[in-house]
């Protein structure tokens, strides 16, 4: 029987992408717990498996065997669909991410656009879940999530537009291809295009924290204020899927930052570029995200909006104008 190799390739990539997303979501929980523990002078999970490495499996089994409670009075359709709406777009985004010059599920010409389109579905999922669960804390949380995402998508996308102008393409593989040959070629140090490039990276990183609802911008599930925010009414795997979606989004955010600013799979010294460099950079960014969470207290909601509208958006526009001027002049 003859099977089209293209179909085999598709199946292999689908399985690979889902496995990568799910494994990351599971083991980032382990990483977060271990890292938090060491920051706080504890040991962290250590009972299940060596260094507690099997802890995510046990957590997963626990969540799956728990009863999925659908409280009385909720909108059952929205309540059940919301976690999936967070999880699926996050996994779909992996399709467009090039891990190395050969390892990419679909080399799309509009890869960057696809990722940001999927990323904006995330907030819809949170909003529907919070609204559907008919909980006051959840609704407050949903209102916060929406205005937070609106506020932070603007500087993020303006920064991305700046990069697209520099690269002249939205194909992620090509964007990385332009940065090959050592760290002085990476966009973060591309001072010839705009002297504000390192600042642009910081803006992108802060926006990524806010987009993925990570501390110090975790307004959505500010547990000392809103109990568990949008997830208050969720139990068992409903909560688990939200949780995995959140971690998958962090992986996506770190990957995009790696591709746009840190040269993707390029080696800092121009030697042996490959998927390992991509993973090192990505996990370093994720490590930093977790590090920030366990160090800083939470900002307030108005502090967060002030930061976006008064600082990040003006700077990112200045960077955009500066870059276009520099591109025109030189």
């Amino acid at each position: 029987m003859h099977v089209d190799p293209e179909i085999l390739r598709l199946v292999a990539f689908l399985v690979g992408v889902i496995a990568f997303a799910a494994l990351n979501a599971a083991y980032l929980v382990w990483l977060e717990r271990k890292e938090a523990a060491h920051i706080q002078r504890r040991i962290g999970p250590k009972e299940v498996g060596p260094f507690g490495l099997l802890q995510p499996l046990v957590d997963g089994i626990k969540l799956m065997t728990k009863q999925l409670i659908v409280p009385a009075g909720v909108d059952p359709v929205l309540f059940k669909i919301a976690p999936i709406l967070v999880m699926v777009p996050a996994i779909m985004s992996f399709v467009a991410i090039p891990f190395s010059d050969t390892l990419v599920a679909r080399n799309l010409d509009l890869g960057l656009l696809v990722i940001f389109a999927f990323a904006s579905v995330n907030v819809l999922g949170l909003l529907l879940g919070a609204w559907g669960s008919r909980n006051k804390y959840a609704v407050i949380s949903a209102a916060r999530v929406v205005s937070q995402n609106v506020a932070y998508e603007i500087p993020m996308l303006v920064t991305v537009v700046t990069l697209v102008m520099i690269s002249g393409t939205m194909n992620l593989s090509e964007i990385v291809g332009l940065q090959m040959g050592g760290f002085w070629h990476w966009n973060i140090l591309n001072l010839a295009a705009s002297p504000l490039m390192p600042v642009a990276f910081l803006i992108f990183f802060v926006c990524m924290l806010a987009e993925t609802n990570r501390a110090p911008f975790d307004m959505a599930e500010a547990e000392s204020e809103l109990v568990a925010g949008a997830f208050t009414e969720y139990s068992g795997m409903g909560f688990g899927v939200f949780f995995m979606g959140e971690y998958a989004n962090i992986v996506i955010g770190a990957s995009v930052a790696t591709i746009l600013f840190l040269g993707g799979w390029d080696c800092p010294f121009g030697l042996f570029p490959g998927v390992h460099w991509f993973l090192i950079k990505m996990y370093f960014l994720i490590f930093t995200v977790i590090w920030i969470r366990w160090t800083f207290p939470r900002t307030t909601f108005y502090g967060l909006l002030n930061l976006s509208w008064k600082i990040l958006i003006p700077i990112s526009f200045v960077n955009l104008i500066l870059t276009s001027a520099m591109l025109k002049v030189f």
Binding site: K136, P216, S224, V227, P297, R298, T300, Y302
Partner: protein, 372 residues
């Protein structure tokens, strides 16, 4: 259409904060009337952990009530012990040996430091910073070990007796306490660098949740809450008891009245308490730790007695009416946090929910002490 918009503008909803909520640190319920995220009105609802301590006092002998005092404010149990014990001693005319008074002050002040450290960690946790809690607990653990070696318990102490303390310190206590003072003094700059000077924390606390001196007087707020609003009042200084007049310490007072002022008052008080402990350790006299001839069955003469002490949260007053029997006729406890919480309803009006919770955290609530 315009009617629709108008009705929406006036629309408020009721949000139940607690009795099970991470920010209330216990079974406190606050009924909030909210306009969006703004608080229109807040009404604390008490009584979820009411145990009738005052009524229990009327049903048991003077000595039998003593362990109850440690169960009210479990974080500064020794000060509550001290208030009750000093009251009964005043009523029955018992003189306490000097060494016992010194031991009382040393242990009470160490307990105050442990209470402030726990508040520090829990307060930053309310603001979303997780890690300082564990560091504060690490330091607090040393105090608990020290106090365990003296009192035999780690949380709800019952160390003081009418006429002294029940147990003398062992040989390791004095060097251990000195080592702890040195250790905490070395670590306080770390807390200030990591937490106090953090820009996010400063923005969350400065000019947030102002409490005026008038409001403090109106509601009878004491302790760090009133000292953060510019009222210089500390029972240890202004109605001195025990050996506090012999000690050289300052009362930190901040004028601003915001959450940051209350935060700074407590952080400064840690240092002042360490100073008191240090001096008391230097001066610690030899001698008995228990007065002789304390009657087994205590019968204070007929009368009306009052004694106040300064706890970590403010002034704790005990009033007892004795009819000359072995059981108090009436026992009235004035606990500091009850008054401090009472001003929350007025203070948080018009605030955003996260700011109001920062304000609530800065009041340092211990719910079993409010409900008694």
């Amino acid at each position: 259409m315009s009617a629709l918009i108008q009705s929406q503008a006036n629309e408020t909803f009721v949000l139940n904060l607690g009795p099970q909520h991470p920010a209330t640190h216990g079974v406190l319920r606050v009924k909030l009337t909210m306009d969006g995220e703004y608080i229109v009105e807040a009404e604390p609802v008490l009584g979820y952990i009411h145990r009738m301590h005052e009524k229990m006092g009327e049903n048991r002998t003077w000595a039998q009530f003593l362990p109850n005092t440690g169960r009210m404010d479990y974080l500064h149990a020794l000060a509550f012990n001290h208030g009750y014990v000093a009251l009964v001693e005043r009523a029955a005319g018992i003189t306490v040996p000097e060494r016992a008074e010194y031991l009382r002050v040393i242990t009470t002040e160490l307990n105050r430091v442990s209470s402030h450290l726990l508040w520090f960690g829990a307060f930053i946790l309310d603001l979303g910073g997780f890690s300082p809690l564990l560091y504060a607990f690490d330091d607090r653990e040393h105090i608990l070990d020290l106090l365990e070696s003296v009192t035999g318990s780690r949380l709800t102490y019952c160390y003081f007796r009418f006429g002294g303390v029940y147990n003398d310190i062992d040989d390791n206590f004095v060097p251990g306490a000195r080592a702890f003072i040195k250790r905490l003094r070395e670590r306080m700059p770390m807390y200030h660098n990591l937490v106090t000077k953090n820009i996010i924390l400063m923005k969350r606390l400065q000019e947030v949740g102002p409490i005026s001196a008038e409001m403090c007087r109106k509601y009878g707020a004491t302790g760090p809450v009133c000292r953060g609003s510019g009222i210089n009042f500390d029972v240890r200084k202004h109605e001195p008891y025990s050996i506090y007049p012999e000690m050289d310490f300052e009362v930190p007072v901040y004028e601003q009245g915001d959450s940051m002022a209350r935060y700074m008052v407590r952080m400064d008080e840690i240092e002042q308490s360490l100073r008191i402990v240090e001096q008391a350790l230097d001066k610690l006299p030899e001698g008995p730790v228990m007065a002789e001839k304390v009657p087994k069955i205590l019968k204070p003469p007929k009368g009306d007695y009052y004694h106040a002490v300064e706890t970590a949260r403010g002034s704790f007053g005990v009033r007892a009416v004795s009819d000359g029997g072995n059981i108090p006729y009436r026992l009235k406890l004035r606990s500091p946090t009850f008054s401090n919480l009472s001003l929350f309803g007025e203070a948080c009006r018009g605030m955003l929910l996260p700011d109001a919770l920062a304000l609530m955290g800065s009041l340092d609530l211990v719910i079993p002490e409010i409900d008694r």
